[in-house]
Symmetry: C2
């Protein structure tokens, strides 16, 4: 524990997850008098709040104060300097999905600044960055936790780490890793009833806020590929990048280059027949189609795309926008260890960040 019994918290990012995290941090600080948690830096891409003497920023109105701030955020190397000079231990909470912030993790960690984050980019970018991050962490003793980078607050990363650290052999990881894809396929090819047309389901998902502003950013499979990259590396496979294994995109080739998401949605119905064919092929075998990722550790095969599942398979029975992750291991035998539940949303994502913070606080 920090000798001064105080820990400084720095937050980059105040979007959906950032707002929920700030609220959870306030509750946490109120419930746990020790160590005293002091917010010393908070920024968006446009604005920042901080004092040169590290005077605590009140969490209860930090967002309003940030909105009316006229201070620009520090450049990342300056943030490293500012936090490294703080008079107590510091935990950086990266609530962005920024590659730039991720690229700076080795710099933060090597200066003794611990990191908790839902940002997938740091752990699914180049394998070099992955190595730099964990080397910096083990050299300085600063901690880096990223539970919410896969499955939001579901205990996915921690469970996989526990399996590996206790000497189990993970043989296969399989699941539905995208809330958006889960929602789309549970509606398009449900266990009960017919389901809607593919283009109509994509449109509905967008209207309900389940997709990125341009739905192609979900349909290209990259988000799932990033999560698979993280899990494969934790399972011991040195996967080079999320584009170094087969990833099936659900964007029709002719629509890859249309200018906007709206134009994409408008033209998508012309391509419904292909997805209808896939659905019918599964139905003819008494199965349903789902968008899944899998890692076969022995053959080092990582892949993302459509697969068919028996109607009694847990992946077929998924509901809403839930994720499901199955760990097949030597110890668990033929029945996998399964984790299931909401894998997206501000509150549950922030929960993973907050529980990571609690774990880091117990160790620094």
């Amino acid at each position: 524990m920090s000798p001064t019994n105080q820990v400084y918290i720095a937050i980059i990012g105040a979007g959906g997850v950032g707002k929920c995290f700030l609220s959870q941090l306030q509750t946490l600080a109120a419930r746990r008098p020790s160590p005293k948690l002091s917010l010393c830096y908070i920024s968006t891409s446009k604005k920042a709040l901080f004092k040169n003497d590290y005077a605590p920023i009140p969490t209860e109105n930090a967002l309003q104060a940030l909105a009316s701030s006229s201070t620009a955020p520090l450049a990342l190397p300056k943030v490293v300097e500012f936090l490294a000079a703080a008079p107590a231990k510091v935990v950086l909470v990266d609530n962005t999905s920024s590659q730039d912030v991720a690229d700076a993790y080795p710099a933060f960690l090597s200066r003794g600044i611990s990191i908790v984050t839902p940002n997938k980019k740091a752990f699914s970018g180049s394998y070099q960055l992955w190595q730099d991050i964990f080397t910096a962490s083990s050299t300085s003793g600063a901690k880096v936790y990223h539970e919410s980078s896969v499955g939001a607050g579901l205990p996915v990363i921690s469970t996989l780490k526990d399996l590996v650290d206790t000497g189990d052999e993970v043989t296969k990881i399989e699941g539905v890793f995208s809330g958006t894809m889960s929602f789309l396929f549970n509606s398009f090819a449900p266990l009960e009833g017919e389901g809607g047309k593919w283009s109509a389901e994509v449109k509905k998902a967008k209207e309900l806020g389940y997709t990125e502003p341009d739905p192609r950013d979900d349909l290209n499979g990259l988000d799932v590929a990033r999560k698979l990259t993280i899990l494969a590396r934790l399972a011991g496979l040195p996967v080079e990048s999320p584009t170094s294994f087969p990833v099936q995109s659900l964007i029709p080739q002719q629509l890859e280059s249309v200018a906007t998401g709206d134009e994409f949605l408008q033209k998508l119905p012309e391509f419904d027949s292909e997805m209808e064919g896939t659905k019918a092929a599964a139905q003819n075998q008494g199965k349903v189609v789902r968008f899944v990722g899998s890692i076969d550790v022995a053959t080092k095969a990582v892949k993302v795309g459509l697969e068919m599942f028996d109607r009694s398979h847990p992946i077929a029975a998924l509901k809403g926008s839930d994720n499901i992750i199955s760990f097949y291991t030597k110890r668990y035998g033929s029945n996998p260890l399964i984790i299931q539940g909401a894998g997206a949303g501000g509150d549950v994502t922030a929960m993973g960040v907050t529980s990571d913070l609690i774990k880091v606080l117990a160790q620094i």
Copy 2:
């Protein structure tokens, strides 16, 4: 971390879980040079191995050495004294299911000795013992972790703690908490096919080693009641004991007092009609019967017994001797966070103990 960069490990219990743990400890010590883990005490109820100067006991042949030892175990107060006087931090691994050892936890903890254990008795005994354990831990700073007390190595306790610690509101916990009961009902009332007679399934389960030597020790529901007691307390309910809420026993009243497990099994077929009736009643509603535990946090209702589930419910679809635990919370909404997999067995139980040990080592 311990100033000497060494941590002493003391193990009580060398049965099924103890043997698996010892093997995992050996792997762990070989993989992690720091802190150095030294086994300084190991005992069964009859024998012990230890040196007055805390000289390390080689883990690779500790079991053989223990078997040929002529030293009796120390009385528990003497074990406390012996470990408290060790020249470095100590973690006690209680691999027994002994109430006596559990009752000594406050004494160990108050002397700064951390504890990891699958022993349910400490956390499901009197509420006074529960309070004494956690008061001693928070006063001395010694840690106490018991992941494997519910669901073996499945991340049940850690997930519930994370939910509570990050400020989520757990509204309901429901599941199948006994591998034995899971196996019995998945065979007696399967989703596909007719299933066998109740008494025949109990006999088969015993032959396969899925039950206690006397199957009544599973069928009385107490094991499940103990697990529910632990989870309810973690969720904030001050449950007095595992007998302070309704627990349905599956032992026919007339067979409660027969002398032996064998006599019980011999007479059980005379009572098959009652369980057949329960199965038929469920079938008539298109459901299946399962033995479950549930905690309704708002109404403080904890109960254990038979319930009917829709055939599409995850509890109905369970396989083999798997456990399933569903956490309903404010953040997770209508779809619970679900954890599923093997909830019994030496290796997976020891895995929970070993991962607890890793967490304790990171903090002491």
